[in-house]
């Protein structure tokens, strides 16, 4: 029972970070119809920058975290301006391939600058575990869960009430109508990419903090977010928020109970098996907009 609860908790915490990074996916997809395969590299890059600022330049964690966010926002804008804008109107394969190319490029930069070995991440969370009922829970988990929850609320309010948020939803609904209403679609695209880069960087820092270490392999997290957003529906923010914990719990249960039977690796492959099932039965996800175009 305790084992089960532990798995459940792990799943919810990791799943909440899935939700956060998934939010970045959905924001980009909704407004620009691009699936960003470089999301994992955004995540790793953000974590590395925070690590370098904190460890090498001895910037207090709070400020290095803010600097990381500023850098990520800038990187998102530049990515959109330099790489994605010339691709507007190109077929889907080109859009997919350009983000894959971007992912290779960023991976090379990360590997060239920081190498491939695992680096210890500064202890940003207090080490002492808290007892919840019978279960010892690390404080990092709780802090991470709470910050993701706060962020998701902030973003939901942002999309619902602020001018920029409403403009983004309008752009996602129809680019032509938004243009004729005086919304700068270009600016919205840039905003979407910078939001995606920022949430990925936050996810990266939280994840590295929980793991206590950081290496390039963490970029795989970006690919594992794809099943999450497909489960929730690619164009649904609520879907990303709900899909994250579901996928986190499922993969942790698979890892906990199937790994001894198959000899490891079940946790990594489980989201993709679930993905195939979703695509077979409900390809537009739990909350996705159903586009009726059958062939």
């Amino acid at each position: 029972m305790e084992f089960f609860l532990q798995l459940l908790l792990n799943g919810i915490v990791v799943g909440s970070i899935y939700s956060l990074v998934g939010l970045g996916f959905v924001v980009i997809y909704k407004s620009t119809s691009v699936l960003n395969f470089a999301q994992g590299e955004f995540l790793v890059l953000g974590a590395y920058i925070c690590l370098t600022l904190t460890v090498q330049y001895h910037v207090p964690f709070f400020w290095s975290f803010l600097l990381t966010l500023a850098f990520s926002a800038l990187m998102g804008i530049l990515t959109e301006r330099i790489i994605l804008r010339p691709m507007i109107g190109e077929p889907v394969i080109s859009l997919i391939m350009v983000t894959l190319g971007l992912s290779s490029l960023l991976k090379a930069i990360i590997q060239g600058v920081w190498g491939t070995e695992l680096r210890p991440f500064p202890d940003i969370f207090p080490a002492e575990p808290v007892k919840i009922g019978p279960l010892p829970v690390s404080q990092g988990y709780l802090i991470s869960l709470a910050s993701v929850a706060v962020l998701l609320v902030i973003f939901t309010l942002f999309f619902k009430f602020t001018r920029a948020g409403v403009a983004m939803r309008a752009t996602a609904f129809s680019q032509q109508v938004s243009l004729s209403m005086g919304i700068s679609v270009k600016r919205i695209f840039a905003l979407a990419w910078s939001i995606a880069a920022v949430v990925s960087a936050i996810g990266g820092v939280l994840l590295a903090g929980i793991r206590g270490g950081l290496d390039g392999a963490m970029a795989f997290f970006g690919l594992k977010v794809i099943p999450v957003v497909i489960l929730g529906g690619l164009d649904s923010i609520a879907g990303a928020i709900v899909g994250g914990p579901i996928m986190g719990i499922l993969e942790n249960l698979a890892g906990g109970y199937l790994d001894p039977l198959v000899g490891g690796g079940a946790k990594e492959v489980a989201p993709f098996v679930i993905l195939v099932l979703i695509l077979g039965f409900k390809p537009y996800g739990l909350f996705g907009k159903i586009k009726i175009e059958r062939v």
């Binding site: 077929p91 290779s104 490029l105 090379a108 590997q111």
Partner: protein
């Protein structure tokens, strides 16, 4: 001397060669490649073999992605299926290569069909994601099915043999890979002169109109997946015979991305593009290695960052091609050909 490109019948319009010269040049090239191993060093022979295998697989990916418009991230997985089938059939069952290679292709085609089924309902992004899932599922299977695939430790494959002939070294295997590559390329080139190939192109251009015009979209999408996976499976089988030892690590997701890169850089929907793309992407790490070997004396640190440089150059080249030459090297090639075809009298 030619002063124009006149086609007076449909048969002429469909012909592979529009003048005698390309035919002669192609025959010359094929003959040159036939005798090349006699003069080549082992190192370059190995590179050539890998280029030829990459060409087969890139042409296979181009059938499904370039010609039918279905995006596949499953190339590495299908190569793995072909390679591990060969390991099982040649290693465990001891069959000769004339049986093993077609069987590996057929089994890969069947696996390809299974993962092609989502393509009936899904398009574009969703299909890319489905093939991504296929990659991880196949990777999980080959690394856990220990007694068949050797698991993470890998498995070794005996030298290709048939009726007493054993192809032990790179030179021997060259004469296995080369004719298969030429045959499959002619097959693929001709495929797009037939009804089937034209149906693929119709689905790519507009699937709904294709269906209205009487193309059975369901059937042809699956057929496209099957043909593509067959070619990739044969490439995987040859890869197993050439490398002699394979493990799941030889087939990472980055390999699938490399192949998509070949097809994009070479040119979508072009066989000659697949050839250019495969040559370019296979030679890229070799060239970087030669360059760093030469410069290694001055900057010893260079050797360490060869792998990231390769990844970075690949990413950069893909992005630059997509932005500045979306039709790939094949488009450049056609410009050059068109210029020289009517050379002195181009007007």
């Amino acid at each position: 001397m030619r002063c124009g490109d006149f086609r007076q019948s449909y048969a002429e319009d469909m012909s592979l060669f529009d003048s005698p010269l390309p035919r002669v040049l192609l025959a010359g090239l094929l003959a040159f490649l036939l005798v090349l191993p006699q003069f080549s060093t082992t190192y370059w022979l190995d590179v050539l073999n890998r280029i030829f295998i990459a060409i087969i697989a890139a042409a296979g990916l181009n059938v499904v992605t370039g010609y039918t418009g279905l995006i596949s991230l499953g190339t590495a997985a299908f190569l793995a299926v072909g390679a591990f089938t060969t390991a099982a059939l040649a290693g465990k069952a001891g069959l000769p290569f004339v049986v093993v290679i077609p069987l590996s292709g057929l089994l890969t085609a069947m696996i390809g069909l299974v993962f092609g089924i989502p393509s009936l309902r899904l398009k574009g992004l969703y299909l890319a994601v489905a093939t991504l899932a296929a990659h991880y599922i196949v990777e999980f299977t080959v690394s856990h099915w220990d007694h068949m695939t050797g698991g993470v430790n890998g498995i070794s494959i005996p030298a290709a043999q048939f009726a007493g002939i054993v192809l032990k070294d790179d030179r021997g295997i060259y004469y296995l890979i080369y004719p298969i590559m030429v045959g499959l390329l002619f097959f693929t080139k001709n495929l797009f002169r037939t009804k089937t190939g034209k149906a693929f192109v119709a689905i790519r251009d507009q699937d709904i109109s294709a269906e209205v015009m009487g193309v059975d979209v369901f059937r042809y999408k699956l057929l496209s997946f099957a043909i593509s996976s067959f070619l990739i499976g044969v490439a995987g089988s040859l890869l197993a015979y050439q490398a002699r030892i394979i493990s799941p690590e030889n087939f990472p997701i980055t390999l699938a991305i490399d192949y998509l890169g070949m097809v994009i850089i070479g040119g979508l929907g072009s066989i000659v593009g697949s050839i250019f793309g495969a040559i370019f992407i296979t030679l890229l790490p070799e060239m970087l290695r030669l360059a760093t070997d030469a410069l290694g004396n001055q900057w010893p640190g260079l050797m360490v960052i060869v792998a990231p440089i390769k990844t970075g150059v690949f990413g950069l080249v893909v992005i630059l091609f997509l932005i500045f030459e979306p039709d790939g090297m094949a488009a450049r090639w056609n410009h050059i050909k068109a210029y020289w075809k009517l050379y002195p009298f181009s007007y």
